[in-house]
């Protein structure tokens, strides 16, 4: 049994989100429900979502063709979560992420050429080929890095927020983690720390409802991960993760709360992973852990369609303008792939570089 048995209907809408937010006092004026998002931001969100979608499709293509090996976890279907959340952040704010690791940096404004080169293991990659798919990072714009160990990057994000708190600065920090990872002890400790110290952090659970083959209903003892917020005396918001605008609004409210010194927020974006857990994990046969009906019902609420729908219906941009954005990102991803292919592999001397900031002799 999954939470979407009720015919693909989500239990949240944008209205409920805001209602929830109002109820827990996160938003001051429940009557001022509609957050104004300017055109540029909406189109930027759309661009980043297309960028992720097209990046991931390309990754699947070149991975299947054997252009690089190693695990890679596609973010397709979940684009609205990272993009909506990161749209509420500045370059001076920080994020940390996990193994499903391409969406977060792109959503935060990272470069697809350096990301793709990293997946190819090349010297021009974000980490000079040392990190690979699961360890993208861009310290110049606050991307503190994705983590292959689940839950492990959440305390790190708490630390960035702690620095803001100690120094009295205004930046905030946001940690992405999955429904599966929410069962790690690190989450408990992090949420408690952030709450007792009132740190400017957003805990962002991407609940795509599965950890590899295991439904969160079987492993998370409460109905919604966001229900756990009450155990830490912080607001918990259950948000429609297919709706970028809802994600943006909720995160904006949480960011405002954080910057105001009022402490952390837990946001759960309810979403869905279209693809299998990881490229190359052929053994995980789809039918065994989720039904085609379930997948289909989620695909009907595609985050790109939903955002484009709002944009077009509200007259923010035309279908053609939206298509052009898609096409531009497709192009950029193609160029990024060429960039990656043409970048050399690191030379052997590179092996011992980057171990230490203040180097020591090799033993």
């Amino acid at each position: 049994m999954t939470r979407t048995d009720a015919g693909g209907e989500l239990c949240v809408t944008k209205a409920t989100v805001l209602l929830l937010a109002a109820r827990i006092g996160l938003l001051q004026k429940p009557e001022g429900l509609t957050v104004d998002i300017d055109r540029d931001l909406l189109l930027l969100m759309l661009r980043r979502m297309w960028m992720i979608r097209n990046f991931e499709l390309k990754v699947m293509e070149v991975h299947a063709a054997g252009e690089f090996t190693g695990a890679a976890h596609p973010y397709i279907g979940e684009e609205a979560v990272a993009v909506g959340a990161c749209a509420a952040l500045e370059d001076t704010d920080y994020i940390t992420g996990n193994h499903r690791s391409h969406g977060h940096p792109i959503a935060k404004g990272g470069r697809v050429d350096k990301a793709m080169a990293e997946l190819y293991g090349r010297i021009d990659g974000y980490c000079k080929g040392k990190g690979g798919s699961m360890h993208l990072a861009d310290y110049s714009i606050g991307i503190l890095g994705e983590s292959g160990i689940l839950g492990s990057s959440v305390p790190v994000a708490v630390g960035a927020a702690l620095a803001a708190h100690i120094k009295g600065e205004k930046f905030v920090s946001l940690a992405f983690f999955g429904d599966g990872a929410s069962n790690q002890g690190a989450l408990h400790e992090s949420m408690n720390l952030a709450s007792v110290w009132k740190l400017p952090i957003i805990f962002l659970c991407e609940n795509n409802q599965y950890a590899v083959t295991t439904s969160y209903a079987e492993t998370v003892a409460v109905e919604h991960v966001s229900d756990r917020a009450s155990a830490y005396n912080m607001p918990g918001l259950l948000i429609d993760g297919q709706d970028a605008i809802a994600m943006y609004e909720a995160t904006s409210a949480a960011v405002a709360r954080a910057r105001a010194g009022e402490g952390p927020t837990l946001i759960e974006g309810l979403t869905y992973r279209y693809e299998e857990h990881s490229l190359g994990l052929g053994r995980v046969r789809r039918g065994e852990y989720r039904s085609q009906e379930e997948i289909d019902s989620w695909r009907k609420r595609d985050p790109l369609e939903i955002l484009e729908g709002s944009i077009i219906s509200q007259g923010v941009a035309t279908r053609e303008e939206c298509d052009a954005i898609n096409a531009e990102t497709l192009d950029e991803v193609e160029r990024a792939t060429d960039f990656a292919r043409n970048s050399p592999f690191p030379e052997p001397e590179e092996l011992f570089e980057d171990m230490w900031a203040n180097p020591i002799p090799q033993p």
């Binding site: 293991g121 160990i149 790690q184 295991t214 053994r283 995980v284 690191p346 033993p363």
Partner: protein
């Protein structure tokens, strides 16, 4: 003798032990659907209670396995070496220490199957080869199989042993084929490889190579190649590091006078360091040349193949080390 793939050998051992003793059960992440392969078909035969999918809470379920073992169960836990950091406290503070701390009252027949995926672009977070750390802490038996037959026989011993055991399963061997004797062929009627008995994989007289886990197979290649040059290499596979059969190594070095140790772990405080230190103390007078440690470079595992392949002991490095001992 059947040709068996390493991962099938794991599956056989688990299946046979679960059939033999109803107190044996297995727990881990996505094991019902056998995401890593070793637990295929267990759910069907043994049911949900003995094939337990866990939440992603390694510290919690590592500890739950300990508690269950204390009251009569014999749990097998599936995990990766790299996820053991998260559950380290249960492994060290409880599994390793309980029995001694409680004056022998606690008995903990718990087995952790910790896979080491390395060498194929898993990068720093998924490539740990951490057995030397656990060797430093008394209380856990440490098993490092290098082929399907030992994998099967050692896992069966681990399940029957009354102490906590970690089996470091070398992921580079998961696809390895090897002969695994059928039970009927064996005098004792089943394949159980005892702890603490090193195996002399190749006999030789000029130099001793001790190999750990996957490195044993490189050492065999080196021995076979050097035989053509008239160099006689003895290859020893300790099979378990705790207990460690030092006598077989000391005897070998007494014969050859030369020692190379090939160890995929990071070289500082490695199993290789320990073995070198034993021989430098107890086998010193046998040595005719400096001991050669061939272990992983003291860097994290880089993702890119161009760098990763430089890290581990391989045939070329081991061959060079053998030659160094012969030239000095």
């Amino acid at each position: 003798m059947a040709q068996t793939v390493f991962i099938e050998a794991i599956n056989q051992a688990i299946t046979e032990e679960m059939r033999r003793d109803e107190n044996v059960f297995i727990m881990g992440e996505d094991i019902r659907r056998a995401v890593y392969g070793a637990t295929a078909d267990l759910l069907g035969e043994f049911g949900e209670k003995r094939v337990l999918d866990t939440p992603l809470s390694e510290n919690g379920f590592f500890g739950a396995a300990i508690g269950a073992s204390l009251v009569g169960m014999r749990p097998i836990v599936e995990t990766l070496t790299s996820f053991m950091w998260v559950g380290m406290d249960q492994l060290i503070s409880q599994a390793a220490k309980m029995r001694y701390m409680f004056g022998g009252q606690a008995t903990l027949p718990v087995v952790y199957r910790a896979t080491m995926f390395y060498g194929a672009g898993s990068a720093a977070h998924h490539s740990d080869r951490s057995y030397p750390m656990f060797m430093n802490m008394p209380g856990i038996k440490i098993v490092v199989p290098s082929n399907p037959a030992d994998m099967k026989g050692l896992l069966k011993s681990a399940v029957r042993d009354d102490d906590p055991t970690i089996i470091f399963e070398d992921g580079t061997l998961f696809g390895m084929r090897g002969e695994v004797p059928d039970d009927a062929e064996l005098p004792q009627g089943e394949l159980v490889v005892p702890f603490g008995e090193a195996k002399i994989v190749r006999e030789g007289t000029d130099v001793t190579i001790v190999g750990i886990a996957g490195a044993v197979n490189h050492a065999i290649v080196v021995a076979d190649q050097l035989a053509a040059d008239g160099i006689s290499v003895e290859v020893i596979d300790p099979r378990t590091l705790v207990p460690f059969d030092k006598q077989t190594v000391l005897d070998s070095v007494e014969k050859t006078g030369r020692l190379v140790i090939a160890d995929p772990a990071h070289k500082v405080c490695s199993a290789a360091s320990e073995i070198a230190s034993i021989v430098a103390e107890e086998g010193f007078w046998s040595l005719q040349a400096p001991i050669q440690k061939v272990a992983s470079e003291q860097v994290h595992i880089p993702y890119t193949p161009s760098l990763e392949k430089l890290v581990y002991p391989d045939v070329a490095k081991i061959t060079a080390a053998v030659k160094r001992t012969l030239e000095s």
